[in-house]
Symmetry: C2
Subunit: 288 residues, 2 copies
């Protein structure tokens, strides 16, 4: 047992899977759930993700409170929670961007900010909601924590221990570096996929094109099936890092365009070969 | 039985699967194989993809000859074959670009060009070689034929019947339109994936980025694992159409960059939503 009482704000895929994994690992006692959607909360209870629904006053008495909510809601939720927080309660989150969550947590938690541990589990799925929750969602997946200089070491240790119990590998990163890395390996690819599909979809004769799209197109654009609201929030929250990545990608595509335009077959072969080799090396390190 | 004798030039994934499907359907008698690689040819025979290896003189006596080779080799292969072609022999191909193949076939086949049926099966895999061949590779997949005004109707009918017997859906397109469509739905995504991986790989600190890439990145970049030589040839062969698509994509990405730069959350949400809806509609039409 690591903690007696866990509260989950947002009992969907991520929050529900976290609760389920910790219950199965036997490291938490009671799990409370908070959510705006009453039927989703009832479903989470029926599925055994949480033991009971709770209000802010009850959630504030938990030893650890996970926010698994849209990052844009962080400040409002923490402002609600603050008056009820028991001494020593630790708060953590699961948002895809970290600098804006840290700013929201500072604003929402004020003097209690030291008890907040910013986190980002690198696991997910196009599915969402309590029904999608799985005890093994985080097994062998990375979870990035981005503590600030004033984050309490004890709070960080608790959150590390909890994620460890889910089977995840915990990594510590600076929040700025986190946002820069995920702008490159996650946010940019999502935006590039959305843009490619949209560019085709907006053509008057788009059906003629989609009709012949096949499995390569399906995989390249899978992430364009992701939640538009969530990705709008991420793009806005991580604007600076994302602009740097967009510019780097635009420059790379311009160079590629130039190679095509001047029939520089050698440059094309070199670039494609480098890319394939880099991807093969990367795949060897992956269990995805 | 549609034809007595089939010859396959290039007995890898595509050529081998075509032969296997037609043998299983019972629509061909003997299958001859030609290839530069003796061990690959022997393997194709051991696997039952072909009945025996043949030379150009023997292949020229086949009723139908499929070229399943890099598109850049088309003219040289047809020049070899021409002196041996029996009257009425039909030749077809499986290349990803069609305008350049048609030009190569005109140059290589001269007065016999009317017996050539340009074709492109929309099926494939990152795998290649005889071992990857499967009798059901083309089942329910599209095969595009792009006959020219001087293609013999009888030749087209034979090739249509053969592809039909593999389980594929045959579609007829103008070669220019074919190249334009595939520039958009296949060639551009491949180049965009290669460019994204290469841009990351060329950074001094690329390991820090690849380390956190996950399943979204894996799927977006799957096609960057494709054969570099084949994609160099495609990019060169389809330059004009590809430049149009690259420019359209660059324009779309620039507009997206602008929305991010000015924090236009509404424009981002609108674009992401349109893209997701278009992809969902497309997926409903797909069996991929």
């Amino acid at each position: 047992m690591i903690i007696e009482k866990l509260a989950i704000v947002g009992t969907g895929l991520i929050g529900g899977s976290f609760a389920l994994a910790l219950k199965q690992a036997g490291v938490v006692g009671e799990v409370l759930g908070i959510g705006r959607n009453a039927s989703s909360l009832a479903q989470a209870q029926t599925l055994g993700l949480i033991d009971r629904a709770a209000d802010w006053a009850a959630a504030g008495q938990a030893d650890c409170i996970l926010l698994a909510i849209p990052v844009g809601d962080t400040e409002a939720v923490l402002t609600q929670l603050l008056p009820h927080l028991k001494p020593g309660a630790v708060i953590t989150d699961a948002g895809s961007t970290k600098r804006n969550v840290i700013a929201a947590a500072r604003a929402g938690l004020k003097a209690r900010f030291g008890d907040f541990v910013p986190g980002h589990p690198i696991a997910g799925s196009e599915q969402s909601g309590p029904l999608a929750a799985r005890a093994d969602l985080f097994q062998a997946k990375k979870v990035v924590l981005t503590p600030e200089p004033d984050t309490h070491a004890s709070a960080l240790a608790m959150v590390q221990a909890l994620w460890g119990a889910t089977g995840a590998q915990v990594e510590i990163l600076d929040a700025v570096l986190h946002d820069r890395i995920f702008a490159a390996v996650s946010h940019l690819p999502h935006l590039a996929a959305f843009a490619l599909v949209d560019e085709l979809a907006c053509r008057a004769d788009s059906d003629a094109f989609f009709r012949f799209a096949a499995s390569g197109f399906r995989d390249f654009t899978r992430i364009a099936g992701s939640n538009p609201e969530m990705w709008r929030d991420i793009a806005v929250a991580n604007r600076e890092a994302l602009l740097i990545e967009l510019d780097a990608y635009l420059t790379a595509l311009q160079a590629l365009r130039q190679s095509v335009a001047v029939d520089d077959a050698d440059a094309l072969l070199e670039m494609f070969s480098r890319a394939r080799a880099a991807r093969e090396n990367w795949m060897k390190t992956q269990d995805v």
